[in-house]
């Protein structure tokens, strides 16, 4: 497995080619192709896209919705920004194909408030696609119509969670919903809704053009396709890289130019912290869930600084709706500071806080509280020495 540019290749397939091919297929065949590709959502959670589309397509209810999650807020992630800047044509084409597949004529891009400067470029691409009849009324002479609007977020990390995002679009606080019902049955304004990440939609035209087998062969096992990674931190060439699924984190770091590694944060603040000894681990949903963010820390970095920064982030971004997340993150931050302040000096004293981390993983309502303790567990376990040994239970 290695670096391979498909979504970010210099030579791009003609705009509208995949849409044209899709419209010559039945809706069921489009969904089938996406499902067979085994593509899993590129936002981080990794739900199979084709399964989601199949459920929404089969759901009863009028005015189905196609929503693009462009609320890229995971620390260290900027790959969707690149796609929105340079490949908006493929994004809109992927959303349109999604609309055709599930029977929807209305798309919304929920764009994070921090990216307002991307709006004019995306709207210009939209105009171009409308002028070519790839978007708008009666697309390519068929009776299928589809259009996309942009709606802005207002600065809330939790709105990257799909039901929070839907709440926000409905003009409410971005607090996660109880599930079920799932958005595919009852999403935006109670309509059947698919919410997919920017990269997921951008990948769709390539799957339609080249087929699901081609896509499967790009990856490894059940982790198919290529994946974009935003690399930052102590690295020579920070930026966005496209690699085959199943590549190792070491391969990625070699291409980006990394000499001195103490730790790597994979998947953003909510992801996994790995040590220099784990660089042969594979970027895949089975091993290191890829997300979109890779942050490198060299040996001069104090990992407790990193932990405190991440936990401050989670304390700030927890929506406060459920107690494990609202209270838990504050306690973990207090604990990290107590370790630094010399008030906690043994693994034994840490036990209740590792149990708290478990409670948060099990008891939080959404992905935020379920994943925010990861950095605490990983960093304390792997990088902090106590007189009675390394941290951990």
């Amino acid at each position: 497995m290695s670096e391979k540019r498909i979504l970010t290749a210099a030579e791009q397939p003609e705009a509208g080619a995949a849409l044209k091919k899709s419209l010559e297929m039945t809706k069921a065949d489009v969904v089938f192709e996406v499902r067979e590709s085994n593509m899993r959502g590129r936002g981080g959670a990794g739900f199979p896209t084709g399964v989601k589309w199949n459920l929404a397509g089969a759901a009863s209810g009028a005015n189905k919705m196609v929503i693009c999650n462009a609320d890229e807020g995971e620390p260290g992630t900027f790959k969707d920004k690149l796609l929105l800047e340079k490949y908006a044509s493929k994004l809109l084409e992927g959303m349109t194909i999604g609309g055709y597949a599930i029977g929807s004529s209305q798309g919304i891009i929920y764009l994070r408030a921090e990216y307002p400067y991307l709006v004019p470029g995306i709207m210009k691409v939209r105009e171009e696609l409308i002028s070519k009849n790839f978007l708008g009324e009666g697309i390519l002479g068929t009776d299928f119509s589809f259009d996309v609007e942009i709606r802005m977020g207002a600065g809330a990390y939790v709105c990257g969670e799909e039901t929070s995002l839907i709440e926000s679009l409905e003009g409410k606080r971005g607090e996660p919903r109880n599930k079920p019902p799932f958005p595919v049955n009852s999403g935006y304004l109670s309509r059947p809704t698919i919410v997919n990440n920017v990269e997921t939609f951008v990948s769709v035209p390539y799957i339609i053009l080249n087929g699901s087998e081609w896509y499967q062969d790009l990856g490894i096992g059940s982790c198919t396709g290529t994946k974009l990674f935003s690399i930052s931190g102590d690295v020579e060439n920070p930026g966005v890289y496209e690699f085959q699924m199943g590549s190792t984190i070491g391969e990625l770091l070699e291409v980006a130019g990394v000499k001195d590694v103490q730790a790597v944060q994979v998947g953003g603040a909510s992801g996994t912290t790995i040590s220099a000894g784990e660089l042969d681990r594979k970027l895949s949903f089975e091993d290191l869930p890829p997300g979109g963010s890779v942050i490198v820390f060299n040996s001069s970095r104090n990992m407790m600084d990193v932990l405190e920064n991440f936990l401050e982030f989670f304390v700030h971004e927890s929506c406060g709706q459920c107690a494990p997340c609202r209270e838990g993150n504050v306690r973990l931050l207090d604990t990290a500071r107590a370790i630094r302040g010399g008030k906690i000096t043994s693994r034994e004293e840490l036990k209740p806080f590792f149990m708290l981390a478990e409670v948060m993983k099990l008891g939080s309502k959404c992905g935020l509280g379920q994943t925010s303790p990861n950095c605490f567990v990983d960093i304390i376990t792997k990088f902090i020495d106590f007189p009675d040994g390394k941290g951990g239970m």
Binding site: P75, Y115, G174, D234, I295, V306, C319
Partner: protein
């Protein structure tokens, strides 16, 4: 001469509609034009979409980009998440606070600049970075950040 809050809400309703789902668009328009969302706008928005004032306040208080306090003509948002932090964003914050003689969250006496810190703004590969209103500024040094701020109207 800026428009009255009620007039901004009326124009926003024409653009976004008067359904509940128009709330974010209406609040965003007011917040962008005035820098904050005054009580008059909360009342007008509540009336337009037919919910209570408290409901609108509840929504706007959730989002970090919305403010109920008047802010400066320019809003500076300096990223304090890890990649920017590792590349010196706290030195930049110190320099800006000293230069403007305000603390984070405050506005200069002349109403020119409000200084805020923000979670990751997706500019990690060009860190340290900040947004001034809608515009990103990247690969900052303390000197350069202060120079950019000096040029703001």
């Amino acid at each position: 001469m800026s428009r009255k809050p009620e007039d901004i809400v009326s124009a926003a309703v024409v653009k976004h509609g008067s359904g509940r789902e128009a709330v974010m668009g209406i609040l965003t328009d007011v917040n962008r034009e005035l820098g904050y969302i005054p009580e008059e706008a909360i009342k007008a928005a509540a009336k337009a979409v037919d919910v209570s004032n408290a409901e609108i306040y509840s929504v706007l208080s959730f989002y970090s980009f919305f403010s109920t306090e008047p802010r400066g003509r320019n809003i500076v948002r300096l990223c304090n998440t890890i990649s920017c932090e590792m590349n010196g964003s706290s030195d930049i914050l110190d320099a800006i606070e000293k230069e403007l003689d305000i603390k984070t969250g405050e506005t200069t006496a002349d109403g020119r600049i409000t200084l805020e810190t923000t979670s990751c703004i997706g500019l990690c590969d060009e860190s340290p970075a900040m947004l001034i209103n809608d515009t990103p500024h990247t690969r900052l040094t303390p000197e350069e950040a202060c120079k950019i701020l000096a040029g703001l109207e």
